[in-house]
Every structure is written in C-alpha cells, then in structure tokens.
Symmetry: C2
Subunit: 408 residues, 2 copies
C-alpha cells in the first residue's frame, strides 16, 4: 500500500463527464489499497473566463481580489470531483488551500508555498477517504487567499507529496510524458522513461511545457519521485527522479528550442569596470528579464555586449537600451527578433568532453550560423536564425541518436 | 455619518456592467461620509449553473461539497465588486464568510448563523475602506464552508447589521418595496412606507417574495431597521421597523395569497385521544410539512380532519394518508389540488374586532365559498377555490381601502 499524490490539469477535468472519468480512474487505485490525495486545477477555460470578467471591471485588476476570484476555479472542480467519487460509492472530502492549510507568502497571483499542514489530510486518509485538494491556491499569514501563478497546481501537488512523504507524485497531463524533443517537428522523438531532476529543470526552463519548473525544483529538494503521464491513456509516462548511474551513459537526454526570445547588441562599449552593471541595473529595475548575456572584448578598450530578452519585451527594451547606450558612450544598439535558442541537455555531459563541439559541428554541417553560445554543466545552448530551428533540432536529435533507447 | 449595511441581490449584480453601476451607487454614500458594508449574492443564474453541474455528477449531491461549490458564486461577485470600487478610485476589500468570520451550525445547505466576528470589518472600515462581504455563506466550527439556503444573503446582511450595530440595513432588490398586495393582480396596490416586523413576517411567510423570512425574524430580535428598496430606481422603499402607534390605526396592512398548496381531508375519523398524533407523526416523519390543520368534530364519535400541504407533495402525501386512514379506521380520504389561501395581515387587528367577519362577508358577497379558515393575532387566512384568487384579493384590497395612504 502506497500513499500517492496525483494531480490532474484543467483539460483532464474540463467537463462533468471528464471529472467522472478521472474519479473512476482514481478509484482503481483506491481499490488496490492505495491512499489517494488528488490535486485538481480549474476546469479548462474557467481561469480565462474569470480573468475576462475581472478585466471588464478593472483595467489592472487588484491582485488580492484577483486571487479571491481565480481561486473559485479550483473550488468548483474539487467539490464536483468529491461528489463524483461519492456517486461511485466511495468516500471523499475536498479541502481548499486555506482549509488544509497551505501557507504561502503574501505576493498575490505569484505566491510561494511556505509550509503545508498535513494533519487534516492524514486524519481523513485514516478514515478511508480520498482527499481532494484545490491546486494553485493557498492562504497567507493574515488569512488572505493567494494563488501560485500559472502551473501552480503542479507545485501544490509536489509540496503535498513532500509534506506527506508520499511514495510518488503523479502529474496527469495531456501528453504521454517528456520527449527527447518536440514530436511535432521531429517524428523520431522518443518518450523518455527516466530523467534526472536537473535535466528536467533544464528542459522545463527551455520550453518543454509539461511540468511547471518550480514543482521540479521542489521535487528535487525533497526527493519526491515525479511521474509525468497522460490522463487519457493508461501507459507509463516519464519518471523524474534522482540522478542514476545509467543516465550518465547517455551523452544527451533531450533537444529543446525556444522561439520566444530576441537578441539585443550594444556595440563598442567602453570596457571599464562596472560597465555591465550600468547596463543591466536599469533593465532589471524596469522589470525586464534577461536570459543569456555574452560579452566579447575587442582589441583595445571597446567591447560588444549581446543579450536575449523575451520577444514580447523587445521594443520596450530597445528603447531603454538606446538611452543607456547614449549615457555610457556606446557606439550603436542593434536587435534581432527572429532568432531561436536551440539547446541540448544531458547529465552525461559532465563526464564526456567534446559534446559542445559535436553540436557546433552538426549545425555547421547544415549551414546554420551560430550567433550566441552559452553552456552550463549539463546544457549547451546556441542562438541561431529562427528559420533554421526545425532543421537544427532534427539534425541534433539524429546526431545524438536520441531515437534509440540505448543511444550513447 | 452612519454605518450602513447594504445587500444587493443577484439581478442587481448580474453582469460586470451592473456591478460597476452598483459600485457607483455605493460610492455616493461613501462620499457623504457613511461607513459602508456591502453584502452581495451570486450573479443571477450562477447558482442554477453550479447546481446543474452538481446534478450532472451526483444524483443527490453531497451537501458538504454542494456548499463548497455554491459558495463560489458570491466569491466571484465580491472580488469583482471590490475591483469595481478600486477602479473608481476608492478603496475596498472583500471577505468570505470564513474570513469574517460568520460562524454557523453544521447543517449544510441550510445552516444557521451562530455568531459574527466584527473585528476585521471594523478594522477595515477604520482604514476608510468599503467592506464587501459574501452573502449566503459561513463556516462551521470545524472549518467547513456552509451556506444558509435560498434568501440567505438577506440573513447575512441583517446579522452583520445587528453585530455591527449598524444604523440601518438596506436590502436592494428588483421591486420598489413591499406592496399592500400583488400589483400584478390588483392595479390599486400601493407601496407601503412603513410596516412592523410582525406584519412583514406574516407577509413574507405567505408568499410576498421580497425578503427572506429568517432575516425579518433576526431584524426583529436585534431591532435592526430594514429598508427594502429597488436597486434600479432611487426612491425610498419600505421600512420594516418596530411597531409604531400609527400602524395600529390601520385595520389591515396587506392582502396576500398562496397558490402552492393543496388540501387533504380524512373523513369520519374515530374521535379518540391521540388520533391527531397517529395521523401527523408519520407525515412529519416522511419530511412533509403541513401548514393549516382544521378539525371539525361531527355529532357522535367521528371527526373530519383537513390540512394543507405543498402542492408538489400532494400525491406523495395522499398515498401516505390513504395507508394511515386504513390503519386508524377512517372512512375516506379526499384531496383538492386547485385551492388558494388568501390572507389579510395587520397589527390593527389586535385592537379591532369584526375584521375576520368583514373578510368572510366580502368573500360571500362575491359568491366565493370558504373551505378552511385559520386565524392568528394579526392575520386571517381563508382557503378558497383557486379560480377565485384574483377576485378575492381585489375585493379585499378594496374593502379595506388599502389603496389609500390614510386607510383605516
């Protein structure tokens, strides 16, 4: 008998029929004797509907009241789900974030979980009930309702699994697991059976929208075995677990890409101490998030500084940077919007040299120019022209033989 | 400067536009320096939508989970309303029943308020905020969400007004106040300016669907001045207050009717001690609510017993009573579905004799047969054939000169 935390997303509980289907699936686990804690998101479309209502009342909706509003989405799902379980002849009880309670910071619409009280949940499990918890929400120390931001239900599930010392945390979604790359652009993409937390962190942050990145970090810290799988088919998905010996034999676990960034270059910046801070402090103060930063020092006292920002913030950043460039005496500011970042990820990189150069070689062979490079312990990223994205992904996927179970 | 509690029903807050309009209206009070506590219902149609969802998942929805579900309706309205106030440049904060907190019994879907904590509300009022409270909901001593049943938001408003010792409690609805009778069937029906709690209790229970009866009882107990008025026009409505001298000069304050009942007669019942209990205990045990009961003892040892039940329960009650009649040796059971109860209400009756006989005389003059009569200190009710309802109401309204402000 295990204690299992399962999370079902909005598409899995998008209608009364789907809620009943999920309840039937959960009951299979209960009948096998497992203790079940179910975390649910709002029905698909509900958060958008509520957000539209808020926007029609206030241009920039007050964030405290937004949380009061949005948290109703999960409240509806958990009550309906508990009813569905009861209709099937089993016992269940629902809890809101503040009933559990899931204590968070007070940063409305993007609060962070600080602690989870497991007493009520354990009491109800001991009474043989399926415990149904609203994802995405919590309560701050003053009793205000908070929400955790998009993807927050994943975090709720992992935090509960950690606090309850659950045997596993299963994230049910509309894909069958984590793939070696995007199956939409590479037909030989393969579902990964097991992957380490660190690799998943790099894949998640690079755009594999399967799991919320905060939940992976939390799972890593508390060593919660995560199982990402489909709510529509009954096959095993991808296990996200602690690093294992076998994983090191693979040079690369996955290839990802991100088309949502743009590059900005400040040319011929006087290369003096403190110059980077003079550029990036005002950008950070404006709430703009910079991803990659590359500095090439030219001969003499001049340097070029290139960095990437979210493409949606490109114009705003260009305006700001143009002012900064004038202040610091740089010669020119230029930007490119149609770029893509292609990355290879794998814990095997730690022990194998030459993987980065293989990547550069593969791209060069396809005639793809590399505009920026950045590397970490288990990742190499290259910025290229956007139009080569699919070609680059397929070439890298082939080159590292990711379609093979035993690739190395 | 007054402390005013206002309650707006579902039709008043049925869309973002209406919510903004109500916010503008409330701000007029705030600008005059009044401290405002606003109680809101769910947007019109929302409770029905949620109930339909529940029914599609479980035949008899679990009442605890039903309360979790239904309470989201008011949660949506209060957050949107607080946003609307803030959009208009004033400060507001919303509170759920359990945040206030409004402590209730644990009887889900029809809980009763046990206490109201006013500390949070007073704190926020002192900070100059409009305080927006979810009607209809509370929390039990174990932290479960409860709801108060249909009309529960009125009760929330009055309970808050009582606990806060508010100067007045205004109930905004889609009618302009309480009328001497139904304006739809009697064109001379007149809006009543002031009425006593007791009269309102009789009018409410008899079907004048303006105010929830529990809220009137609560207002009476705590002497909360109630003002029932329209949310669409800016005229004074009806004040429901403690009995005043002037009220006694009016013989009758209003005429009401109820077409939702049916009569059942058990004929030639052996008239023995305990026979009434043998009839009505099983009916009560079956959850059937009997309204009027009339017993006519015939000569000898036989009696006829007639009573009214909700028309929706007529068939079920007839079946049950037929069995009971056989058990106790009664001769016959008969029932009439198409009846109506017409009533006159007025505190003036206490000091004036002959009002009941005037009523009987008026009905006889119109050729209307009276099937049952029941009287209380401030009310006389007659059961008649349903087809005569409108005729009876108009004749009584005329006879007691209710169209005149100074009628007596």
């Amino acid at each position: 008998m295990s204690l299992i935390v399962q999370k079902y997303g909005g598409t899995s509980v998008g209608s009364p029929e789907k809620i009943k289907a999920v309840a039937a699936r959960v009951l299979e686990y209960s009948r096998k004797g497992h203790e079940m804690v179910i975390v649910l998101s709002a029905m698909s479309g509900e958060t958008d509907r509520l957000t539209a209502l808020a926007n029609s009342v206030q241009d920039q909706p007050d964030t405290r009241e937004m949380d009061v509003l949005l948290s109703t989405g999960e409240q509806v799902t958990i009550s309906l789900f508990a009813m569905a379980v009861k209709a099937a002849g089993f016992d269940a009880i629902s809890f809101l974030g503040d009933q559990v309670k899931i204590l968070t910071s007070s940063l409305h619409t993007k609060a962070r979980i600080q602690s989870v009280d497991t007493n009520k949940i354990k009491d109800q499990l001991a009474q043989g009930k399926i415990v149904v918890i609203a994802g995405f929400q919590g309560v701050d120390e003053n009793g205000n309702i908070t929400t955790l931001g998009r993807g927050g239900s994943d975090t709720t599930a992992v935090a509960l699994a950690a606090a309850l010392k659950a045997d596993q945390c299963e994230i049910f979604t509309d894909v069958e697991g984590v793939y070696t790359t995007d199956p939409n652009i590479c037909t030989s993409a393969r579902k990964i059976d097991r992957i380490s937390y660190d690799e998943m962190l790099e894949l998640a942050s690079l755009g594999a929208k399967v799991l919320d990145i905060r939940s992976v970090g939390l799972a890593k810290r508390y060593k919660v075995p995560l199982h990402v799988r489909s709510s529509f088919v009954d096959t095993e998905g991808t296990w996200v677990v602690e690093e294992e010996k076998a994983m090191e034999s693979m040079l690369v676990s996955g290839v990802t890409y991100n088309k949502n960034e743009a590059t900005i270059t400040i040319s011929r910046v006087p290369d003096k101490p403190g110059i980077a801070s003079k550029i990036f402090m005002p950008i950070s103060d404006a709430g703009l998030v910079v991803d990659m930063i590359i500095q090439n020092t030219r001969a003499g006292e001049l340097t070029d500084m290139t960095f990437t920002v979210p493409r949606t913030e490109f114009k705003r950043t260009m305006e700001l940077v143009t002012k900064i460039a004038a202040d610091i005496g740089a010669e020119n500011v230029s930007g490119v919007e149609d770029i893509a970042k292609v990355s290879i990820v794998g814990v095997g990189m730690r022990n194998h040299s030459g993987i980065a150069s293989t990547m550069f070689h593969v791209l060069a062979n396809e005639g793809i120019n590399i505009m920026m490079i950045s590397t970490s312990e288990i990742k190499v990223s290259c910025v290229i022209e956007e139009k080569y994205t699919e070609l680059a992904v397929r070439a890298l996927h082939d080159a590292f033989a990711l379609e093979r179970e035993d690739h190395q």
